[in-house]
Subunit: 119 residues, 2 copies
DNA sequence: TTCATGTGCAACCCGAGTGTTGCACATTCA
DNA sequence: TGAATGTGCAACACTCGGGTTGCACATGAA
């Protein structure tokens, strides 16, 4: 029962699912590079239709990775680092947790049998 | 052209895809907690069949997140932190990259129009 | 050898996600 | 006002991932 459950984290869940798709990562890259862009403009730089881009942006927005604001008749999207930062930290914590446990297991094994059994 | 393409990273790609699924995250948690386990044992602690677990473990192994070794007639899986660490760092780098760009954009905007246009 | 346990492989089902197209609505500009 | 541009919504097709079941094969124990 050393368990700290990392498997179900409401906010990171959406971020991980969003980042799993290559097209969405590409969108994030374009947005991070350009600072701001509309779905129509982004679609011109990708091999998919505008509607596909819109759907991807909706997923990214739901995950908190981007935010879109209306300016006149267009909707400009931009990147939002907070959610990504949070997930990066979650991941780093998980990794160090694994390291901790593995080190503990290794120590236990060595303590139980230094080189062979010793009576 | 400030672009540093984070969107297509061969190794992180698999890790992100692997982590996108809740059942796989749960598996990783069980493995990190128990240190080592077989697919059959893991299936008993999850609401899915052994075969489903086997498939998930294959995905995790392909991503480098777990490794399985045969011991007699059973295959024991354990967690491997390296790939996770690498992806966590990739993600942190991406996040700080976003921060950098956004800060630059903000400075540029403020420099261009301190409070209003000034001729 | 016989039985139990654990794994491997294959076929199959099903839902969700990705992508498309078509059209209606909104906004800007001539 | 009308034309151009951009967005929103809906229906549809298709693939793929997650899950299941069934059975064959391998290994350890009695």
């Amino acid at each position: 029962m050393t368990g700290t459950d990392h498997s179900s984290d409401a906010s990171t869940d959406g971020v991980l699912a969003a980042l799993a798709d290559p097209t969405r990562r590409r969108l994030l890259d374009l947005l991070a590079d350009g600072g701001e862009a509309t779905a129509t403009a982004l679609a011109e730089r990708l091999p998919v239709s505008r509607q596909a881009v819109v759907k991807h942006l909706a997923v990214l927005a739901a995950a908190g990775l981007v935010v879109g604001g209306r300016v006149g008749r267009e909707v400009r999207y931009s990147v939002r680092p907070e959610a990504l930062n949070a997930t990066a930290q979650w991941m780093a914590a998980l990794a160090s947790d694994w390291d901790r446990r593995l080190a503990a297991v290794k120590r236990a094994a060595e303590a139980a049998a230094p080189e062979a059994d010793r009576g």
